[in-house]
C-alpha cells in the first residue's frame, strides 16, 4: 500500500471511529468539517509554502453563501453547497492574486489584512449578513431521500463529503500540479527559470484551497444553523492555521489529526475553563519549541519507537494523547 492510500485509509478510520468514541454528533461533525478546512490550508502551507492568514475569509463566505441561499431561495441543499464552494474559490482567487504580489512576511501580513477587510465588510453590511448576530435560523433541508435533521444523520453526510474532499485533495497533491507546487515551495526561482508561471500556480492553489474551505464553512453553518460573524473573524483564520501547524504540514492526513486535536481539546477545555485559550497559547509555544513536525511527527516517532524494539513498554501510556480522541 502506498503512502497516499494509507493516509486515505487512516482518514476513513477516523470518520468511522468518531461515532464510536464520541457522544455528540455535532462535535464529531465539527471535527471533520475543520479537518477539511485544515487540509485545504495545508495545500497552501505544506505544498506551496504559503502561510495564509486568510482562510477564515473563505470559511465565512462559504457560511454566508450557504445561509443566504437556503434562507432566501428555494434552491436545494446541493446548490447551496455548490454556491458556497464557488464563493470560496472566487474570493480565494482574488485574495491570492493580490497577496502574492508580495512575498514572505509581507504576504502573510497581506492575508491577515484582507481577513480584517472581509470581517469589516461582513460587519458593515448588516442587512445581508446579520452583522453581530449572524444569519439566524438556517434550515437544514434533506438531501434527496435522506433527512439530515438528526445530528448523526448529518454526521454521515459530512463524513461522506469529507472522504470525497480528502480523496480529491490527495489527487490534487499527487497530480503534476501538486508536484509543481512542491517544486515552487522548494525553489521558486528555479521553478520560474524552467518555465513555470509561478504566480498562476499559486493563484490556482489558492482557488482550490478556497473552494474546499468555502464548502467547510457552508457545512459548519448548516451544522449550527447559524452563519455567525465569528466565522469570518481573525480568530477563525487563526484557528484553521493553528490546526494545520499543530497537525504538521508534511501531509494531508496530519491536518485531520490537527483539526481533531484542536476541536476536541478546545471543546473539553472550554467546558472546564472559559479562559482555555491561555493554555492554547502556551501549547503553541511548546509546539514551536519541541514539536516542529506537529502531531504527525510525534506519531511517526512513536511508530518508529514501537518498531525498533519493544523493550520499552513505558511508552505505551503516551499513545492516546497523539490521536486526541480519548473522549
Amino acid at each position: 500500500m502506498n503512502r497516499a492510500s494509507l493516509h486515505f485509509v487512516l482518514a476513513a478510520l477516523v470518520a468511522i471511529a468518531l461515532p464510536l468514541f464520541m457522544r455528540s454528533g455535532t462535535l464529531a461533525s465539527e471535527v471533520l468539517i475543520f479537518a477539511m478546512a485544515a487540509a485545504a490550508c495545508n495545500l497552501l502551507l505544506g505544498y506551496t509554502g504559503l502561510l495564509s492568514f486568510g482562510q477564515g475569509i473563505f470559511f465565512g463566505l462559504g457560511s454566508y453563501a450557504a445561509g443566504l441561499t437556503l434562507l432566501h431561495t428555494s434552491l436545494p441543499l446541493g446548490a447551496a453547497l455548490a454556491l458556497a464552494t464557488i464563493a470560496g474559490a472566487v474570493a480565494a482567487t482574488g485574495v491570492g492574486w493580490l497577496s502574492i504580489r508580495r512575498q514572505g512576511v509581507y504576504f502573510v501580513m497581506l492575508t491577515l489584512a484582507f481577513s480584517q477587510f472581509f470581517y469589516f465588510l461582513a460587519y458593515t453590511f448588516k442587512d445581508v449578513t446579520g452583522g453581530d448576530n449572524g444569519l439566524l435560523n438556517i434550515p437544514r433541508p434533506a438531501i434527496g431521500p435522506f433527512a439530515l435533521g438528526e445530528s448523526w444523520a448529518y454526521y454521515a453526510f459530512v463524513a461522506v463529503l469529507f472522504l470525497l474532499v480528502f480523496a480529491a485533495l490527495q489527487r490534487v497533491a499527487s497530480s503534476t500540479f501538486g508536484r509543481t507546487l512542491l517544486a515552487i515551495r522548494d525553489n521558486e526561482e528555479r521553478a520560474r527559470a524552467i518555465g513555470f508561471p509561478v504566480r498562476l500556480f499559486k493563484i490556482t492553489a489558492f482557488a482550490v484551497s478556497g473552494a474546499v474551505t468555502g464548502l467547510a464553512g457552508a457545512l459548519h453553518a448548516l451544522l449550527i444553523g447559524v452563519a455567525p460573524l465569528s466565522s469570518i473573524e481573525y480568530h477563525m483564520s487563526e484557528s484553521i492555521l493553528i490546526m494545520t501547524i499543530i497537525g504538521g504540514s508534511g501531509n494531508l492526513f496530519a491536518s485531520v489529526l490537527g483539526a481533531g486535536f484542536y476541536v476536541i481539546v478546545s471543546d473539553l477545555l472550554s467546558s472546564i475553563w472559559p479562559r482555555w485559550l491561555l493554555l492554547l497559547g502556551g501549547l503553541l509555544v511548546v509546539v514551536a519549541l519541541f514539536m516542529q513536525k506537529g502531531l504527525w511527527g510525534l506519531l511517526e516517532r512513536l511508530v518508529e519507537a514501537l518498531q525498533n524494539g519493544r523493550k520499552s513498554p513505558v511508552e505505551a501510556p503516551v499513545r492516546p494523547e497523539s490521536e486526541g480522541r480519548s473522549i
Partner: protein, 284 residues
C-alpha cells in the same frame, strides 16, 4: 469645519498608528522577526494605564510607567523565549507570537474582565481648545504634540546614534554588526523592548480616546500590518506617511460613512497593493 475637525483627529490617530507600526518595523528591520504579539503589547499598555488610573494613580505616572513595564516584559520575553527561535522558519515565529498574543489577551480578561472600560484624561486636559469656530478636545491636541516630539526623538535615535546605525546596519547584514564588535544579543533585546514599548505607549495614549477592551490588540495588529504594507517594512518615513494616511482616511470617512470607516482602510490598502505592489516608498 467638521472636516477640519476630522482632519486633526486623523492626524492624532495617524500618529498613534505611526508609533505602533514603527515599533513593528524596527523589530523586523533588525531581527527579521514578524511579531504577531505586537498588538498584545498595545493592549497591555492601554490596560496598564486603565488599571493605574482606576487605582487612583496619577495619569501622568501611568502614562510613563505603562510603556516602561511593557518594554520590560518584552525584554524578558525576548531573552527567555524569542531568541531561542530566531533560527527557525517564519512559520514558527508566527506560531510563537500568536501563542503569546492569545495568552496576553486571556490574561487581560482574567485580570480585568471581558467588558473593558473607559479612561478619563487628566483634569488639566479635560477641557476643550477653542480658536474661533474650531473647538477641539485638549487631550487629543496633547497626543498630537507628544507624538510629534516622540517622532522627532525617534528619528534622531535611528539616524543620529550608534544604536540607530546598528539597527540600520542589522537590517542589511547581521555579520557586519558582529564585525563592528557590538554585542548583538543585547542590541536585539534592547530593540525588541523599544519596539514593544512604542506599541505599549500607543496603547496607553489611545486608552483615554477609545477606551479599553480585550480585543483591541487584534485590531491594532491589523492596522499596524496595513501601515507597514503601505509604507514598507523597516522604513521610518514609510511608517510616518502611511500611518498618517491611514489615520486621516479613517477619520474623514467616519463623517462620510461611519460604519464603513475601518473598511475603507483595508480597501485603501488593496488599492495601494494593486497599483504599487511595493508600497508607497517602493522598497523591496
Amino acid at each position: 469645519m467638521i472636516y477640519l475637525f476630522q482632519l486633526v483627529n486623523g492626524i492624532g490617530l495617524g500618529m498613534l498608528y505611526f508609533l505602533l507600526a514603527v515599533g513593528l518595523s524596527i523589530i523586523f528591520g533588525l531581527l527579521h522577526f514578524v511579531n504577531f504579539a505586537h498588538g498584545a503589547f498595545y493592549l497591555l499598555g492601554a490596560y496598564l494605564v486603565y488599571d493605574m488610573t482606576e487605582r487612583g494613580v496619577n495619569f501622568w505616572a501611568g502614562l510613563l510607567l505603562a510603556p516602561v513595564v511593557v518594554a520590560g516584559l518584552a525584554a524578558l520575553t525576548e531573552a527567555v523565549l524569542l531568541r531561542r527561535i530566531y533560527h527557525l522558519p517564519h512559520t514558527f515565529h508566527i506560531l510563537v507570537t500568536v501563542g503569546l498574543a492569545l495568552m496576553v489577551q486571556e490574561l487581560v480578561i482574567i485580570l480585568w474582565g471581558p467588558v473593558g472600560g473607559n479612561v478619563s484624561p487628566p483634569d488639566v486636559l479635560g477641557g476643550v481648545f477653542m480658536l474661533g469656530d474650531f473647538i477641539y478636545p485638549q487631550y487629543r491636541l496633547f497626543v498630537i504634540g507628544l507624538t510629534l516630539v516622540l517622532a522627532i526623538g525617534l528619528w534622531w535615535l535611528l539616524e543620529g546614534t550608534r544604536l540607530g546605525a546598528v539597527v540600520r546596519a542589522g537590517s542589511e547584514s547581521t555579520d557586519m554588526v558582529s564585525l563592528l564588535g557590538i554585542d548583538i544579543v543585547r542590541v536585539n533585546t534592547a530593540v525588541f523592548a523599544l519596539g514593544a514599548g512604542l506599541a505599549g505607549l500607543a496603547g496607553a495614549l489611545a486608552a483615554p480616546i477609545r477606551g479599553v477592551e480585550p480585543f483591541m490588540g487584534v485590531e491594532a495588529l491589523g492596522i499596524a500590518f496595513v501601515v507597514v504594507v503601505i509604507g514598507g517594512m523597516g522604513s521610518y518615513t514609510g511608517a510616518l506617511i502611511a500611518g498618517l494616511l491611514v489615520g486621516i482616511v479613517q477619520s474623514v470617512m467616519a463623517t462620510l460613512w461611519p460604519e464603513g470607516a475601518r473598511l475603507m482602510i483595508y480597501l485603501g490598502m488593496g488599492l495601494v497593493i494593486l497599483t504599487m505592489p511595493r508600497g508607497l516608498l517602493g522598497r523591496a
